[in-house]
Every structure is written in C-alpha cells, then in structure tokens.
C-alpha cells in the first residue's frame, strides 16, 4: 500500500529519475564504446606499447677484429674498459640534476663536459620521436678503473646511468705503425645517418687499416633485451624470464674478422730504429710479391692517444706541428726523387737505343744548353763515363746529356711504365699520383722542353714521386720487370682462425723492357754500393751484396714555411736524402726505400738506414729459420706468387 506525503513532488521526480537513468545508461555506454576502442580496436597496439615500456634493449658490443703482423704477432687488440651512458627517460627534472652533480664529482667532469652532457640530454628529451629519450647516450668514454668502482658503489642512486663494458682498442705494435693501422674515434652524426648500424658513442676506424677494413673488423653488435620498471631499474631474474621470451633475451654479438698484415713487426722496428731523420719515410717491400714488410712515415701519431680521450689542445698541437704528423709520407706527399730517378733516364736511354751500356759521355763538370749551364756534383768533372759508372758516381752531366737526347716524353713514358705519375693501387686509403711532366703538360713559360728533360733526367724540375712509387719501380727493376700493386693485407681470418679471404700478389703490369737493359741498370746499382767510389760505398755490407741508388733532392721553395724561426727555416731548406735499394744484389728479395726529409746527402742521411734495414731483414730471416716458426711458412708463398703473376 503506497501512501506518500508529498505525492506531487514524487510525481515530479519520477520522470526526471527515468531520464536520469537513461542518461546514466548512455554515459556508461560511452565508456563501454571507448573501452572497445582502446582495448579491442587498438588493443594490440597498446599491448605492444606496454611491452616497449618495460623492455630495454642493451647492446652487446662486438669484439673488433685483431690486426696481426705476418707472423701472427698481435699489433692491435682490445682491452676491457667501461664507458658511461645515461638514459634520459629514466631521470628527469630534479633527479637529473642530482645525477649530474654526482657524475661530475665521481668522474671529475669539466664544465665543458657537463655542458655537452646537458646538451645531449636536452636533444634527446626534446626529440619528436618519443622513443629517442629511451636511447642511452655517451657520458664518458673509457673511464679509469677506480671510477668504475665508485660508480658501481653508487649504482642504486643513479638508475639512469649505465656502465657499459666496451672493449677499447689497444695498439700494442711499434708506435711507428701509426699510419699503417690508423686509429678509432667516435662516429659523427653524419656517419650515423649514413650507416645505420652505428650508435651514438660508438667508434669507427680512421685512417689506415682501421678505416679501410672497418667492415671486416667491426663485426655485428648483439642485443640483450631486459625488463625494467618505470624508473629504469632492472627486474629480478624471475620477472625477466616471465616478461621476455627466451629467444629474445640475447642476440649474441658477432665478432669482427682478424686481419693478418704483410708487415713484419720485427723488421718494422728495426727499420724504425735505423731511420735517423726527424721526418721522412721508409718502405720495405718484397720484390717478388709486392707485399709491404715495413712502412714508416715519421713523425707519426700515437694511435692509443688518438683513440682515447684526446684534448682539443693536443689535437691543435698535432694539426699545427710543422712536421705534419698526420701526413702519411709514404703515399701522400710529393717529393723530387733526385738522382734515384736516374734509373728511369737510364732505362729510357737504353730502350730507345740512345745509349748502349758501353757508350761513353764525357763529364767536364757541367752541361750547357742554350745560355744555361747545369752543373755536376763534382765541379772538376767525372771524365769519361759509361752508364754503369754514371750510376756509380751519380754523374749528373751524363744524365743531362742523356736526358736531353732522350727527350721529356720518352722519360715520361718510362716513368709511367715503372708506376710513377699514377697511384700504385695500394689499398690503404687515399694515395696521390705524383707528377710526371710530358710535352703536353709543361708550359712554354716554364722553360723549353729540352730544359724540362734535362731537369727531369736527374729527378728535379717538375718530377714528383712518392716513396711507395719508388719502391714499386725499384722492385720492378730488381725482379726483372713486374710492376706490383703493393699490398699490406695478407689475409682475413674469421675469429676462429679460418681464412675468409687471401690476398695473392697482384701485378699492375709488366715493364716491357729488355732484360739486358734491366741487367745493365742493376749492374750500375750494384756498383753504387759495392765498388770503391760508389756513392753508397760506405754503406756496403761485408757479407751481403745489395744494390741501390742515392738521391739528394733539392728543396726549392719555402713557401708558407717562411713564418718559421731561423733554425727551422734552415732545416726546411735542406735537401731531402733518398736511398732506393734492393737486396740481395743477385736474386733480390726485398726493396728498401728510405727518404730522409731535409736530411741532406742521400749517401750520408739515407743509405746507412737502408743498409741497416737490409741487414736486419736477413738477420731476422736467419733467426726465423733457426726458430722454425711455423707461421713464417704461412707468411709469404713466394714461389706460388711468382706463378700467379706470369
């Protein structure tokens, strides 16, 4: 029985309550529709986002391949070290400032470092890509052991900071190998854009082998997926296993391949020790293969320093050093060859039948063409010279006369055949071609063709070569006419030691010169070292005959170097000393080219170093035979190499 006191009001309320009920149902349906949209229509997307939230990908850096010398002796490997990274998403605002304060204290960061870290933080925080802030960025590279301990101790207070064990490059070989092996430094933003496998903070090879063989050495980074909470803390083992499927937990890194060089580290050290100059280059190359056994460009940089934490001041010092330590003199600088070029003039004369081995030219101390007189080293003159003696004494007048008769184009042709005026094809980065003038390239204002030919005949004038080209040319003369493409990598091995690629000797061309011509020139070169009066007679070895040619290249212009102080100016105006040689004289094995920049006389400043290097080569060879190192046999398949080329 319904009796109500204020029935009217209730009557008023009922329809409104019904309307209210309708509104309630509609509102709840709106929620249901929204939930359908979120959970069913976009459910999978959100599900993946929830996974992306807790899943953190740590990279497992691949071990970079080793670089070894021809004996398997390690020149470059990796040492364990730690880099510090920070993930912006896991520390914001106040926490970020606290972490930065701690890092400054623990890592002894400079204000400059802090600015850089803040800038990196801001950059990834403000990035339009929201995932960017979950990517760790580099705070400090290769921190010392004691700092590692301190950071480990404060790990829990800085959950956004990660210590990543990253192997760093250790250059263990002779410091003189700087230009051979190169160094590593952090990838630039441009490079990261170009090669997507590189991440911020990783390093990439610069110069030398590290750069040229980056792809082989690098390997492929692995990945470790871990589960973290909202503060970036790693979850315990059970939670990890529950949240990350087993197959996705670890993608192992693939280590890089190892490179075995043709370099013989013992010989490299010996050559470096023998080289007396402040600046210059030494190349030792196998005559029968084109394999480079030693390669020195002095001064060099220290790859360990370049790959580590190098300060701006140090970089500035390097780039402003007048001796240019970053310049690879073996292949990237032009030098007048001086008298070492006389072999080219000799061959051109013999091949063009301008001279025979027996025909003589008289040297009275000078050679006149028009109103210009070119003087010989010996003002009183050498007297009657044949080709052998002209080489032995390095008689300029003989070659002025010969060059004048042969002509610039024939000289140029022979020079090109020997590999001058073009890159040798050496696979170690950029290489300059040198300059070999011919009748088309010279301008009448710079002098008559004949004057050019006369200057070129003794390796002056516009002739410019690199020490590497010299080695290739002298090797061709020594080996009977094969112009090699010089090589420095012997083979590439997988980490477990399997050979994945082998570099057999490669001939650029054959000389196409008569054997008798080569024999005549070789005879002259033997006389240079082994006969009294020969320019390098004092550098001869008692129990081993070798052959070579001295060179003293005049340095004409001081150019930009004029700002230097007088003593430096005096240094920079001195002649370059050359010695190009091969040994043994009979059946040559190696060619040794020494360039001592501003060293003065070739006979004094270059020949002794070559002599010592040759001596070292044979001493090492004897020792090796005595030790019976198995690796030595694998190093250079000399006989098969010869087969390949012919």
């Amino acid at each position: 029985m319904l009796v109500r006191r204020d029935f009217d009001d209730i009557r008023e309320i009922r329809p409104r309550a019904a309307l209210g009920a309708l509104i309630v149902v509609c509102a709840m349906l709106v929620l249901v529709v929204r939930l359908y949209q979120l959970q069913i229509l976009r459910g999978e997307d959100y599900f993946n986002q929830s996974i992306a939230n807790f899943r953190k990908s740590l990279f497992v850096p691949a071990d970079r391949g080793l670089i070894k010398d021809r004996r398997g002796h390690t020149l470059v490997d990796n040492r364990p070290s730690f880099d510090v990274f920070m993930t912006p998403a896991f520390c914001k605002g106040k926490e970020r400032d606290e972490v930065l304060t701690k890092l400054r204290e623990f890592l002894h960061l400079t204000p400059e470092d802090l600015d850089r870290i803040r800038a990196d933080y801001q950059k990834s925080w403000l990035s339009k890509d929201r995932l960017e802030r979950f990517k760790p960025f580099l705070v400090a590279l290769d921190i010392p052991r004691d700092q590692v301990d301190v950071l480990e101790g404060h790990k829990t207070e800085m959950s956004c900071v990660n210590l990543i064990p990253t192997p760093h490059r250790a250059y263990r070989g002779s410091p003189s190998l700087g230009h051979v092996v190169g160094y590593m430094s952090e990838v630039t933003p441009d490079e990261m854009e170009q090669y997507e496998e590189y991440r911020r903070g990783q390093t990439i090879g610069r110069r030398g082998i590290e750069r040229r063989w980056e792809r082989e050495l690098r390997g492929a980074d692995g990945k470790q997926n871990i589960a973290v909470d909202a503060k970036g803390r790693e979850l315990d083992k059970d939670a990890q296993e529950a949240l990350i499927p087993e197959g996705e937990r670890l993608v192992p890194a693939t280590p890089g391949n190892n490179l075995v060089l043709t370099i013989d580290e013992r010989l490299q050290k010996a050559a470096d020790a023998a080289f007396p100059g402040r600046a210059g280059a030494v190349v030792v190359m196998e005559v029968k293969t084109g394999y480079v056994l030693a390669m020195i460009s002095r001064p060099s940089f220290d790859p360990n320093m370049m790959s580590g934490r190098i300060s701006r001041a140090q970089l500035k010092e390097l780039s402003e050093d007048p001796l240019k330590p970053m310049l690879n003199r073996v292949m990237n600088e032009n030098y007048h060859p001086g008298s070492t070029f006389k072999v080219v003039t000799s061959l051109a004369g013999l091949e063009n039948s301008i001279v025979t081995p027996g025909s003589g030219i008289s040297c009275n101390g000078g050679y006149t063409m028009g109103n210009h007189r070119w003087r010989c080293d010996k003002p009183s003159g050498h007297g009657l010279m044949d080709l052998r003696r002209a080489l032995q004494f390095s008689c300029d007048v003989y070659y002025y006369s010969l060059g004048d008769k042969v002509g610039l184009d024939a000289l140029s042709d022979m020079a090109h055949r020997l590999g001058f005026g073009q890159p040798t094809g050496f696979d170690l980065g950029r290489e300059i071609p040198g300059i070999i003038p011919d009748s088309k390239s010279v301008t009448p204002e710079s002098g008559s063709l004949r004057a050019h030919a006369i200057n070129a005949s003794i390796g002056q004038g516009e002739i410019n070569v690199t020490p590497l080209q010299q080695a290739v040319a002298y090797a061709a003369i020594a080996n009977g006419g094969t112009v090699w493409k010089p090589q420095i990598v012997r083979r590439i091995e997988s980490p477990d030691g399997k050979i994945t690629r082998e570099f057999l000797p490669e001939a650029a061309r054959t000389l196409g010169v008569k054997d008798t011509s080569l024999a005549t020139v070789r005879g002259g070169l033997v006389a240079v070292v082994n006969e009294p009066g020969g320019t390098a007679y004092r550098s001869r070895l008692p129990d081993l005959q070798f052959a070579g040619k001295t060179g003293t290249a005049q340095v004409m212009k001081l150019g930009q170097k004029q700002k230097l102080d007088p003593s430096a100016q005096q240094y920079f105006s001195r002649d370059h000393a050359w010695f190009a040689s091969f040994a043994p004289a009979q059946d040559p094995e190696i060619v040794v080219v020494v360039l001592n920049e501003h060293g003065g006389w070739g006979a004094e400043a270059a020949a002794p170093a070559a002599s010592k290097t040759i001596e070292a080569y044979f001493r090492i060879k004897r020792e090796e035979a005595a030790e019976d190192v198995p690796a030595a046999q694998a190093a250079a398949p000399v006989s098969s190499a010869a087969v390949v080329t012919q």
Binding site: D6, D9, M28, L31, V32, Y46, N53, F54, K231
Partner: protein, 369 residues
C-alpha cells in the same frame, strides 16, 4: 517503534543494492591487492578495514530513521565547512595542495564528507522551501540560497586546490537542482549560458600558457611530470588489457609502476589492464546498476527529503564513477577523482559507505509513515 527495524522489515532492505555494493567492495579490495602488491604496507587490508568500519556505520544507520538527518543537516554542513577551514589553516601539504587534516592520528580528507553534507543540506532545503510549491516551479533567481550553499564549500575545496573534488561536488549539487521543480526552459538557459560562458572564456580570453597555468594551479599533482604523461600511460594500460586482460597481478603497466597513482585515481587502469574488456564491462555494469538502484530508491522514496537524499547519492556515485573512468580512458581531462569503493583512501570509502547506508535507510522506510 516507528523508527525501529524489525526482522520483518529486513525483507524490505534493498538486497540487490546490498549485494551490488558487496561485490564492488570485494572486487575493489582484490584489485587493490594487485595494485599495491609491491607496496611495503598491505594497503588492501587497510582498505578492507575501512570498508568494515563503513559497513558497521551502515548497520548502525539502519536503526535510525533518515529523517533525523534533517535535524543534523545544518550542524553537519557547518561542521564540514569548519573542517574545510581547518584544512586551509592546518592542513597537511602534499604535492602543493592542502587536502588532509590530522584528526586524532588519522589523516582525514574532509572534502569527501563535504559532499555528503552538501547533499543533506540541499535535500533539506528543497524539502522545506515553499517557493517551489507556491509558484509551482522555481525560477533561476529563486535558487540563490541553494547556490550559496553549494558555492561556499566548492570554493573552499577549489582553494586547496582540488579541482576534481570541487567539480564533482558542484556536479552532484547541480544534479539535485535539476530534480527540483525548475522549469526545463530555465534549466536549459542556465546550463547553456554557463557552458557558453565558460567555453568562451577558455577559448577567447585565456591564452595557452594561462590555461596551462590554471590547470597546473588547480591540480598540480596531475601536471607535475608533464601534461599528458599520466593520461598516455593510463591509456596504454587500459588498451593493453585487450579482451581478457593480463591476469591478476600480471599487469606490467601496474606492477612496473608505469601507471601513475595506480592505487588511487588510476585504479581503474589496473582493473582494465588485468581483466580486459570483459572485466571492465562487468565493472561498469556494476556501477551502472548501483546508480540505477539508487535512482530507483529516489523514485520510490516515502518523502521528498528521502527522495532528494537518494538523488544526491545517485549523483555522487554516478559522477565519481563516470569522471574517474572517463579520465582513465582518456575521454576526460585528468582530474583527480576517486573511483568509489575501488580507489584507496579511508575518507572516501567511509563517505561512500555512509552514502550506501543512507540509500538503504531511505529504501527501508519507503512504506512507513
């Protein structure tokens, strides 16, 4: 024993409402246990204890006729205002807002009880006021007194600041006004005018940074970590639940703390993540049922006072549930409003249980003179 309860009268108890409440309470504690699995304190037990206290209060309330509340309306209202004033002067500051008051060692959130006080005082006003009966309806200007009654506590809550509670209190009160004899035309004018005015103010007068400042000022907690972060993480949690959810205690958004305030304002995200669309629809259904049952109580109340009380309580549950779940699913901006009987918080739970008690009381006495 006009005001007593006999065994026979227990038959008149609104059992579906009781059952619905108990189910929501149980699910709430169960869900809270998951949301606070990693917390050092067993918050679910604390919550259950408060529910017990609330149930006890409900049982006690059943013995007292709700009409006594008419007598208590004014003292209750002023006591509530006094508590709010107390918060303003002696409140505990958390995240830039003063909302809590320390009473006998307990942290009380007076704004939760203010809602009830406002409901009771409005119910009394509409019951006693003769204007409506005399004119047959209320004009806009006849309502200045109830508006004053509403705006004073709302302003005090705003000042804490607690935008969510202020809005929800206002919404509850306005819902009650809608049920008074206000002409539809007047109601429409009132809401349209208010709506247009606020939209105009928001769009034309305020600049973006000012709006941000207003929002940040009104609710600093929600904007502390960058506007939108909470909302996004909450939607990821809800969406990732898909059809059936990830299972109790298995929600990664919840367990790994990607969800903000997962035990209070964002408790529904936990439920939606772990129990999916099915579980969410069931929970929405339960709240809808609760509100509809409350409306049913209002429509069948013995007197106008009971009816308005029940209306207020319906509005209380509806607005809390709707705003909270709407916020969590991203259909509404982030304003801190608890989900009744689900969100952790003693004051809120006890206030909600008192509301249920009032509903049962009104329903129980619908046949009595």
């Amino acid at each position: 024993m006009a005001y007593g309860v006999t065994e026979k009268k227990l038959d008149h108890l609104h059992w579906p409402l009781v059952l619905c409440t108990l189910i929501i309470c149980t699910l709430g504690v169960w869900n809270l246990a998951s949301a606070t699995k990693n917390a050092p304190v067993l918050m679910a037990l604390v919550q259950a204890r408060w529910m017990g206290v609330g149930l006890l209060a409900v049982a006690v309330l059943l013995f007292i006729d709700y009409r006594w509340l008419q007598t208590l309306a004014w003292p209750g209202y002023f006591a509530a205002l006094a508590l709010l004033a107390g918060v303003a002067f002696a409140g505990k500051k958390v995240l830039g807002a003063r909302r809590w008051l320390s009473l006998g060692g307990m942290q009380v959130q007076p704004s939760e009880f203010v809602k009830l006080a406002v409901i009771v005082v409005l119910a009394r006003w509409f019951t006693r006021d003769e204007t409506g009966a005399r004119k047959g309806h209320y004009g806009i200007f006849d309502l200045w007194r109830p508006f004053l009654l509403i705006l004073v506590p709302v302003a005090l809550v705003m000042k804490q600041p607690d935008l969510g509670t202020a809005l929800v209190t206002f919404a509850i009160a306005m819902t009650m006004v809608m049920f008074a004899k206000v002409k539809w035309r007047d109601l429409i004018i009132m809401f349209a005018g208010g709506g247009v005015a606020s939209v105009m103010a928001w769009k034309k007068v305020l600049k973006d940074y000012q709006k941000q400042r207003v929002l940040t000022f009104l609710d600093p907690g929600a904007y502390a970590h960058g506007a939108g972060y909470h909302s996004i993480q909450s939607q990821i949690a809800v969406g990732s639940g898909q059809w059936g959810g990830k299972g109790w205690g298995e929600g990664t958004q919840n367990q790994l703390a990607f969800l903000p305030e997962q035990h209070t304002d964002f408790i529904f995200s936990v439920w939606a993540e772990e129990h999916g669309f099915m579980g969410s629809v069931i929970l929405i259904g339960l709240y809808a049922f609760l509100v509809l049952a409350a409306l049913d109580v209002a429509a069948n109340a013995r007197d106008k006072f009971g009816s308005f009380l029940a209306l207020g309580i319906s509005a209380l549950f509806f607005w809390h549930a709707f705003i909270n779940m709407g916020m969590v699913t991203g259909v509404m901006p982030v304003v801190g409003v608890p989900l009744p009987l689900f969100s952790y918080g003693g004051s809120s739970v006890v206030a909600d249980m008192l509301g249920i008690g009032i509903l049962l009381n009104v329903s129980l006495r619908r046949f009595m003179f």
